[in-house]
Amino acid sequence: MIRPGHLRKVGVSGRGLVVALPYLWLLLFFVVPFVIVLKISFSDVDLAIPPYKPLIEWIGTNSLAIKVNFNNYAFLFTDPLYIHALLNSIKVAFISTLLCLVIGYPMAYGIARSAPSTRNVLLLLVVLPFWTSLLLRVYAWIGLLKANGVINNVLIWLGAIHEPLTMLYTPFAMYVGIVYSYLPFLILPLYANLEKMDWQLLEAAEDLGCRPWQAFYKITLPLSRNGVLAGSMLVFIPAVGEFVIPALLGGPNALMIGRVLWDEFFSNRAWPVASAVAILLLILLVPFMMWYQSVQARESAGAR
């Protein structure tokens, strides 16, 4: 039997184990897959299983050849499809983030200013959609948005329109899906920030001559900056690589980088190019993630 005393003798402490666990997790499920993807992105395509040539190969008996292929990356910049898809993804993610902010800020503000008893109910309502799978919820939007779907039927019944509106498989439907799915990710960190706000500051601002909207603009908004940034990053970062929502709601013209990646991987079986796309996307998003991290650190340090 191994007793704690024995472990300590070989330099293993309880604290060390606790700290090591998350690192082990990250190593296994993040670093190792990442290295594999990176490796594939530098390989040649092959008609085999798996569909790429090995990076490291024994030539003869005594020499080891490492063949690093930059063609996959070069290809991404020669075919305008990829850059186009990437820019479009950024555009869609950016607009979705803005829409989430416009809708989510008032909601977070409202929750933060409501009575503590109703606050918990409202927060529950915000996270309630998470109880159902994302896929099901996106499918539900198809039922709502399609030509003979709920929204069109209600509008026709009300007499507001005579012919069904084309909503499904348009950018509109895609934005509806993304904003709907990611809204809680913006509301929750923003709420956490606004909830700490000292509302007496607004009274002080009004006392010094601010109308309520001026007090909001000069006090609440700057003080909630970290919450806005954190929430926006939580929407923007995953939205750039979003695949499911554009594929189901956006129709064939919704050119998103996530979709390109899927097509390369499954339809073209071009694993190396797909891996290169993944790496490029990652490089693009790392600065945003770091920004998010620093915002989070500032937020928890309490300095504004």
């Binding site: 000292d198 007496q200 500051l201 009274e203 002080a204 601002a205 009004e206 006392d207 010094l208 001559g209 601010c210 109308r211 001026q214 006090i219 700057p222 003080l223 300095a303 504004r304």
Partner: protein, 378 residues
């Protein structure tokens, strides 16, 4: 308690022709069934430091917030400098407030905090800079303009809050527990600074506090509040020496209260029989109460003399045993147990370093001047 620091030398409140600067006319405020402020009428005069004194929940802060425009009176109205404030929002009132929590804007420097109100009023930039600098010098924060609030001590924050509320030169400054967050030494020091500042600027102050010592030091007049009503308003001296009720006598300072029955009611003297005291109290002035009425005689601890031998020729003498002594340095507090069981509090200044000490269990005589007790009927 000294009243030498009183900034208002005249007494406009006793002059019926003087026009009050702030008029609170029959103001009430209810929150649901709870009456926070109950039919309060009050006049405050220009240049006064008026203190609303009361325990927490007595309605003093609600009254202050109604003056600031943060609460709307359920009934009654408030006039400032003759102007009806009904329906005037906080940002249009000639009033500024210093919040108990100071409410400094954490994302702005000290200068930006102080300049905030002036910027809001679109005062020219050069004038803002000048007024902010003058105000910061006045509160002795000259070199602190570029700091953020979290880099300041409690006392410095308090002075920034004061500067920020004064820089707009309000007609009335509302101060909510202005010294509550400071430690005792700093509080005493700041009290006198506040009086000096008020004197220099001539702004009318309305201070809310639960600390009677603070009220006594700062105020030209005090309004004692209880259950949403102002139970007595007057100068610190009036409040202390001539309390109108048991509540005021007990709330402001400490007091010994003896319940009794009026047995002799003459125009120039009265006699009260008190079972609590175990005797009668002779008072050398008349009072207005019905004969045989239940009244209370209130005697301040410092107005009771204590001796080991019977004092000759005193009107009011009782005997008792020393139950407890608290030595405070400048004075000592004695708790004397009377034969009736009532415990009387007596304070005596320690005038001599080698006084003959009175000790526990010792039999002593208590006496007081026949003009010392205050008789209240409620």
């Amino acid at each position: 308690m000294s009243n030498s620091a009183e900034p208002v030398k005249s007494t406009p409140w006793s002059d019926p022709t003087a026009r009050p600067y702030v008029q609170i006319e029959r103001v009430s405020k209810s929150f649901g069934d709870f009456k926070a402020v109950d039919d309060v009428s009050l006049n405050i005069y220009r240049g006064e430091i008026f203190c609303l004194l009361g325990a927490s929940g007595c309605g003093k802060t609600t009254l202050l917030r109604m003056l600031g425009g943060f609460e709307t009176p359920s009934s009654g109205r408030i006039l400032i400098d003759g102007e009806d404030m009904t329906g005037v929002p906080p940002y249009e009132r000639p009033v500024n407030m210093m919040f108990q929590s100071y409410a400094l804007f954490p994302h702005m420097t000290v200068e930006q905090n102080v300049a905030f109100g002036l910027k809001q009023d679109r005062v020219p930039k050069s004038e803002i800079a000048e007024r902010v600098a003058t105000m910061l010098d006045l509160v002795k924060l000259g070199g602190f303009g570029k700091r953020k609030p979290h880099q300041l001590s409690g006392g410095q924050k308090q002075r920034v809050a004061l500067a920020r509320s004064l820089v707009k030169r309000p007609k009335l400054l509302l101060l909510d527990e202005p010294l509550g967050a400071l430690d005792k030494k700093l509080r005493e020091h700041t009290q006198f600074e506040l009086i000096g500042l008020q004197d220099k600027l001539g702004v009318t102050f309305l201070v809310v506090t639960h600390d009677q010592e603070e009220a006594m030091t700062l105020a030209s007049r005090i309004g004692v509040m209880d259950h949403g009503e102002i139970v007595q308003a007057g100068t610190p001296l009036e409040i202390y020496e001539f309390p109108s009720s048991k509540f005021v006598a007990d709330f402001v300072g400490t007091v010994n209260i003896f319940e009794g029955k009026l047995i002799e009611d003459e125009p120039e003297h009265v006699r009260i029989r008190s079972d609590e005291l175990g005797g009668t109290i002779f008072i050398s002035h008349g009072i207005s109460a019905a004969p045989e009425a239940i009244v209370w005689a209130a005697i301040r601890p410092e107005k009771i003399f204590m001796s080991t031998a019977p004092p000759p020729g005193a009107d009011n003498v009782v005997r008792g045993a020393v139950q407890d002594i608290a030595y405070l340095g400048d004075l000592s507090i004695y708790l004397i147990k009377l034969p009736t069981g009532k415990v009387v509090r007596v304070t005596q200044p320690n005038t001599s370093r080698h006084a003959e000490a009175i000790t526990w269990e010792q039999q002593v005589y208590l006496s007081w001047d026949s003009s010392s007790p205050v008789v209240v009927t409620r």
